[in-house]
Amino acid sequence: MKAREKTWPWRLLLVVILLGIAAGTWGAVSKIDYKWRWYRVPQYFMYLAEDAQKIPFDGKVTAVVKGNKNTKVTVVSESAETKTIQVTSDTLKVSEGEDLFAGDTVGFTKTWRLGPLMLGLWTTLWLSAISSVFALILGLLTGIARVSKNITLRGLAMVYVECIRGTPLLVQIFIAYFFLGTVFNLSRNVCGVGALALFAGAYVAEIVRAGVQSIPKGQMEASRSLGMTAFQTMKDIILPQAFKKILPPLSGQFISLIKDSSLVSVIAITDLTKSGREIITSTFATFEVWIVVAAMYLLVTSVLSQLVFYMERRLAVSD
């Protein structure tokens, strides 16, 4: 019997190589004149917004009740109208007895708001989610059409798949937006989702086709010999088995879709990538922002991978 090979030297080597790459990058960066400004990044995740609280009429401050955090200011107008305004204590700008004019600022309220990075991430997520759903439906139908007996259906599916797979996504997005969007008067979001769904749908179709074809012919024959219709056979016998097989490539496709969605930033949809570009124009923290944006994509795709891994294990019970 062979002794179990030691793995720790290889693990160590892995760590050393990774550290080496990091150090090399660090060294190269420090040679160029770049000033890191990491402190500028967090505010683009969340920030404390200050909203000015103004009075709508000319009047007099009759009461200022100071609380721990907030202060309540009561103003009475010349026509005896009263208004109580709440502001954050340390931003209070008026004192009791003071005369104010309409539009004067009493103080500010501070609230936490999501920054552009989070809003961009949210856009990327819902854009990808909606596109994925449509891509799945489209891919399923096209994939089944590809293996159908009907020549027309098969031809249509083939033309669609070939056209999409033979052209770059960026060009498809431009066509969707500048051509179809103009002709049919579609919003940019519809164009973006549509282009992504059409693109991913073609690849999903190929995955579905391969999955369906990988199921032995005997399954179809056994099911049909029991009197089940072609549709019932697909739904109850072929697709459930195919789905288990295509889950890994399918999830890879959806992970790709999340990454590909960054291309819709070219038609001015403010997704994560576009948010990053916008932040850079105001901070010049180019390196930091792109690194953070990349890390955010990575986070989303890793979570998805883990989810799929878990599903695969759940589906493996009948093996």
């Binding site: 032995p216 005997g218 399954q219 024959e221 056994a222 099911s223 049909r224 010999s225 029991l226 009197g227 089940m228 219709t229 019932q232 109850d236 016998i237 459930p240 088995q241 288990k244 019970v317 009948s318 093996d319």
Partner: protein, 244 residues
């Protein structure tokens, strides 16, 4: 019950045409057990597959209870529900439990309630001798057990006729007996059966009639005694010499 009238099936491929079934005519009465034998490639499977519409035939007619399969207006799914088929490779649904294998088509095609289908399935599993495997997945069963489940699955539809295409050919020798026993019992109960097999013992014991096919044609038909003791045709004699 079943009447085949000059059935022809031609496969055309790049290498030319194959007349897999070439003018087969026969009749099978209710309750009759017919065994089809013949050398490999003689068209036995193809003929059987024509009977339940898995293969569309090129010429001729097949009547099942008077309904013509060649008629375009015939609802093939209805016919198939009446014609059970057991395959060499079992073809159980691997993602469904044994019980679900037996109940799915009952619910979908016969529109039975879950409860009725379950009861029927349990009864059939008992009949084929594996009631304790209802909750298992097919991959956990031996070949013989799988084939018995496949027979039970076909029986669950209450078919008028059962077709068997070499049901024991993919089995280890020690499991052949258990499957043949189930088939013999079915025959005794009066099921109409068409069986393609190389099990000559089975043919001798339960067949009412033996059909010998070669090159897509029916070469000789007769009772087992006649066929195994006194075959008339040269090709049949040759074949028997090889297999017995």
């Amino acid at each position: 019950m079943i009447k085949a009238d000059n059935v022809v099936k031609v496969f055309s491929s790049r290498s030319g045409e194959v007349r897999a079934v070439d003018g087969v005519s026969t009749e099978v009465a209710r309750g009759e057990v017919v065994v089809v034998i013949g050398p490999s490639g003689s068209g036995k499977s193809t003929f059987l597959r024509c009977i339940n519409g898995l293969e569309t035939f090129t010429e001729g007619h097949i009547f099942i209870d008077g309904v013509d399969l060649a008629d375009k207006k015939t609802n093939i799914n209805k016919i198939r529900a009446e014609v059970g088929m057991v395959f060499q490779q079992f073809n159980l649904f691997p993602h469904k439990t044994v019980l679900e294998n037996l109940t799915l088509a009952q619910c979908r095609v016969r529109k039975r309630s879950k409860k009725v289908a379950d009861e029927k399935a349990q009864a059939l599993l008992k009949k084929v001798g594996i009631p304790e495997k209802a909750g298992e997945y097919p991959s956990r069963l031996s070949g013989g057990q799988q084939q018995r489940v496949a027979i039970a699955r076909a029986l669950a539809m209450d078919p008028k006729v059962m077709l068997f295409d070499e049901p024991t050919s993919a089995l280890d020798p020690e499991m052949v007996g258990e499957v043949l026993d189930v088939m013999k019992q079915l025959a005794r109960e009066g099921m109409t059966m068409i069986v393609v097999t190389h099990e000559m013992g089975f043919a001798r014991e339960v067949a009412d009639r033996v059909i010998f096919m070669d090159e897509g044609k029916v070469v000789e038909v007769g009772t087992p005694e006649h066929f195994f003791t006194n075959p008339q045709e040269e090709r049949a004699k040759l074949f028997l010499k090889q297999v017995l």
